[in-house]
């Protein structure tokens, strides 16, 4: 197709510029929001007109979600009613489109090295579940003049994403074409990639600083939505106060030199096929977030300056449950400290968190030098984190 033709939008994107789109800041939107941002702005939606719901809070739930829960389950899904309600009832300027993607697969950096990169069944189906609370008596969306749009989208399979999004958006966005959707999807992936790379580069800087100064840092192993202060309760922030840098597995650097140093021996010994292969510890590698957590545990076991791992897990999380022992074992067998905060729910268990944070700080202070030394001794020479920039 000639370039000039392909580039001509068949609809007038201007007619979309007045549309306001609300996106619940939920579940795997936490790891893909940049995709949605890039995608929607490429389709002519103004940046200011893309509204994300606020961070989760009990207040949000009380004010907007009360009586709309449909089932008792883990809090990351249960809190969805508050997010939905806030976007419908809590906006000064009403939204026109309620956009809640059902993310089926994820664009994980492990894709191709693991069996699958599926979302948790509750992550993918969360929107259907939460929506039910808003249509069970009457259709709250229709009543408020809002179009509810919830595409099922396989972000791990870029080839089919344009079709999936086009099918659900063609009746909502005036003049949308498949070709235009394709370009917007491309833009979405690019924005997401740029963002991830920026954060990974920051992560590398932190690691290099730790390596240079022989100082410990902490790695958080959790699902992306534990970054939500209402879900993860900012436990890692409490630790940061003690001066320990914090890294999240989702944004751990994946530069080839670092990976080669960490996993080269295992690859040569035939234990794994690539630095991203986790079959040595987790053969049923279907779930994307789980896979990344397992990979993070392996990384923590190898990087000397990661002196401590903080594991966050929500109450009633069925995905985390089978991973408790393997992750603890992978980390602890390397001599790294491991602390797990399981059963996180709506309220921050402030008292016990405080005590545990103090304990962690104490152990780090007492043991981190020894841990770093022992781990350094068990790793091959030539760590790229120690090279001059």
């Amino acid at each position: 197709m000639p370039r000039w033709f392909a580039r001509t939008p068949s609809g007038d994107p201007k007619s979309r510029s007045h549309l306001r789109v609300g996106i619940p800041r939920l579940l795997n939107v936490w790891s893909t929001h940049q995709f949605w941002w890039g995608f929607l702005t490429a389709l002519g939606i103004e940046g200011e007109a893309i509204v994300f719901s606020s961070d989760t809070s009990e207040d949000q739930n009380r004010q907007f979600g009360k009586g709309r829960g449909t089932v008792d389950c883990c809090y990351p899904v249960k809190c969805g009613a508050g997010h939905y309600g806030e976007l419908v009832f809590g906006q000064k300027r009403k939204i026109d489109i309620f956009f809640s993607p059902m993310i089926y697969t994820l664009p994980s950096f492990l894709r191709g090295h693991v069996a699958e990169t599926l979302s948790c069944p509750r992550v993918m189906a969360g929107p259907e579940n939460i929506k039910a609370g808003f249509i069970k008596e009457k259709d709250v969306f229709a009543e408020n003049g809002i179009r509810y749009v919830s595409p099922l989208v396989s972000l791990g399979e870029p080839l089919i994403v344009p079709k999936q999004l086009y099918e659900t958006l063609k009746d909502v966005l005036p003049g949308l074409t498949l070709e235009e959707t394709r370009r917007a999807v491309h833009e979405g992936y690019q924005t997401l990639q740029d963002f991830n790379e920026r954060l990974r580069a920051k992560g590398r800087e932190v690691l290099e600083a730790c390596a240079r100064e022989d100082k410990p840092c902490l790695l958080v192993l959790a699902r992306p939505y534990h970054m939500d202060p209402g879900i993860g309760h900012e436990i890692e922030v409490d630790l940061q106060v003690y001066g320990y840098p914090i890294l999240w597995v989702q944004y751990f650097p994946v530069d080839p030199d670092l990976l080669g140093w960490m996993f080269g021996e295992d690859i040569r010994a035939g234990i794994v096929k690539s630095p991203f292969d986790i079959s040595d510890v987790w053969p049923s590698s279907y779930s994307s977030n789980t896979n990344e957590i397992l990979w993070g545990a392996k990384v923590a076991a190898r990087v000397p300056w990661i002196a401590c791992v903080i594991r966050l897990s929500s109450y009633e999380c069925g995905m985390d449950q089978p991973t408790y022992t393997p992750i603890q074992q992978i980390v602890e067998r390397s001599g790294t400290l491991f602390f797990s905060f399981q059963d996180l729910d709506s309220t921050k268990p402030a008292g016990s968190v405080k005590i545990r944070v103090e304990t962690i700080a104490h152990y780090l202070e007492k043991y981190s030098t020894e841990i770093i030394e022992k781990k350094k001794a068990s790793m091959p020479p030539g760590c790229p984190l120690l090279r001059d920039p």
């Binding site: 389950c73 509750r122 099922l152 510890v281 449950q321 022992t325």
Partner: protein
């Protein structure tokens, strides 16, 4: 706090099960209803394996499962891991651990999904480690991947004769189970149905044990598709059922069982013996066929490829091929159910289930039974297949909680759809059953009302209908097929049937 470095953690990887071991090693399996398990054992024996079905899981197994694996499991995982561990322990006491490890291997279905079904290995693995039986060999067969020879070894050949034998075993016992549940609530002599079912299962075991083997590839496929071997056997089963006299004028509510695969399939402690309990409370059960699940798996595969139509040139062809396979499968099911007098109903159309569920649950959302839970409840409601749907939802099950949530929208739209989602924890029996009881009471009222309305509409009385049945004893046989016509209950349909035949005039 220990900071010593130890050997790195590695996932459990069992030693392969090899061909030469076949003669001495027994394959353990379980997790289905007893009829299917018994006949599957016969399929394995027919292929030259030693096989044994694990005992039905009990509450002790649940406790053991919770004790030996990480906390927070869904209850099917606790039941199945505890079941295996308890069996191995009792065998170890009898013959010693080493002998157990040498003598048995365990095979179970894995999954390609993201729920715990796909991570069962971890629970089993931990349980084996915690009981000091790491050397025991346990294999997970992914449902979508039949060629897993390398990891498993060549001890169990997952080839066409095995797969087809297993599939036909499931189909035959599914139709048998369905007939059984249609008959037992109405039997005149208590216990007679159970006796006939027992004999029939034994007979089917014999049939499958003697199944002719027609090569390992196309010959076997062609034979299964065209043979009258299984239909003949089922006609014999049908003949056995003819001996059971029934009184179908007892107005009973029909309860459709749905839910998570394991809980809807097994019959025992894991689901509080819900089938028997409902029957004892006066219900007729519409059981959940394993065949529906297999049909759904085909739909899932088709749906995955459908996404690539217009993107991958071969996608359309693949979809067409799989749809043909699905049609062949359903045709085979029909052949088998017709051999039982057509009494077991046809499989629900998967694409209708998908269409019905669509406003509430996207068809591609996977894990558990996906959109089928919503689809089946609506299907039973619209087609008057049951007075109520009882959904067995495991405590802390991930996909099931989602479809139950979505059902809130369905019940909002159809307030008269009787729906009983039961959270099954394995030990909170009274709570689950009393919840079910409440909805069952309403279902009973509806069944009774419907029956009385039909009598009134046809101008018949129960006595006159009974008189007609006495004069037509073939209608009192378990094998008489009552035409289903616009009403739900068996008694109401029977009255309409009699009226249509001019009975009582």
């Amino acid at each position: 706090m220990a900071t010593a470095t130890l050997q790195p953690y590695r996932a459990y990887s069992p030693k392969p099960f090899t061909k030469d071991e076949r003669g001495q090693v027994t394959i353990l399996f379980g997790g289905l209803h007893w009829r299917a398990e018994r006949v599957l054992q016969a399929v394995l024996e027919n292929l030259g394996y030693r096989a044994q079905v694990l005992p039905v899981a009990t509450k002790e197994d649940l406790l053991r499962g919770r004790e030996v694996a990480d906390i927070g499991q869904c209850c099917p995982t606790s039941f199945t891991t505890g079941n295996l561990v308890n069996f191995l322990r009792s065998e170890a006491e009898r013959i010693g651990k080493e002998e157990v490890v040498r003598k048995y291997v365990y095979f179970t279905a894995g999954s390609c999904g993201a729920c715990r079904f796909g991570q069962y290995h971890q629970s089993y693995e931990l349980a084996l480690r915690n009981t000091g039986m790491e050397a025991f060999r346990m294999f997970l067969m992914a449902q979508n991947q039949l060629d897993q020879g390398a990891a498993i070894g060549d001890g169990l050949e997952i080839n066409l004769p095995f797969t087809l034998g297993a599939a036909w075993a499931v189909l035959c016992t599914d139709v048998l189970q369905n007939l059984e549940y249609q008959v037992r609530p109405y039997e005149v002599i208590p216990g007679q149905t159970d006796q006939v079912v027992k004999e029939s299962v034994e007979y089917l075991c014999e049939v499958f044990r003697n199944r002719p083997l027609r090569g390992k590839k196309w010959g076997s496929l062609l034979w299964h598709l065209t043979t009258g071997y299984f239909t003949k056997a089922l006609r014999e089963v049908h003949r056995k059922f003819a001996a059971v006299e029934v009184d179908r004028l007892r107005a009973k509510p029909i309860v459709k069982i749905t839910g998570e695969f394991y809980l809807q399939t097994v019959e025992g402690d894991p689901n509080h013996n819900i089938h028997r309990w409902l029957e004892s409370e006066g219900a007729e059960i519409y059981p959940a066929a394993i065949a529906v699940w297999l049909d759904y798996l085909m739909r899932l595969a088709i749906q995955d490829i459908e996404e690539y139509v217009g993107i991958d040139r071969r996608a359309r062809l693949k979809v067409a091929a799989l749809k043909t396979l699905q049609r062949v499968y359903r045709w085979q099911y029909d052949r088998l159910r017709h051999a039982l007098g057509g009494q077991p109903p046809a499989l629900p159309d998967q694409y209708e289930l998908r269409r019905l569920a669509a406003p509430y649950f996207h068809h591609r959302l996977s894990g558990g039974e996906g959109d089928m839970l919503v689809g089946k409840a609506l299907w039973a409601y619209h087609h008057k297949k049951a007075h109520m749907t009882c959904e067995l939802s495991p405590y802390s099950c991930m996909p099931n909680t989602m479809s139950i949530g979505a059902m809130a929208g369905v019940v909002g739209k159809y307030p008269d759809l009787l729906y009983a989602p039961l959270e099954i924890k394995g030990d909170a029996e009274v709570h689950a059953l009393s919840r079910c009881q409440m909805i069952l009471t309403e279902a009973k009222k509806r069944a009774q009302k419907e029956y009385e309305e039909v009598l009134e509409r046809t101008g018949l009385t129960a006595e006159r209908v009974r008189g007609y049945l006495d004069a037509h004893p073939e209608m009192k046989k378990a094998t008489y097929r009552v035409r289903r016509d616009g009403v739900v209950g068996t008694a109401a349909n029977l009255v309409l049937d009699v009226a249509r035949r001019g009975g009582g005039r």
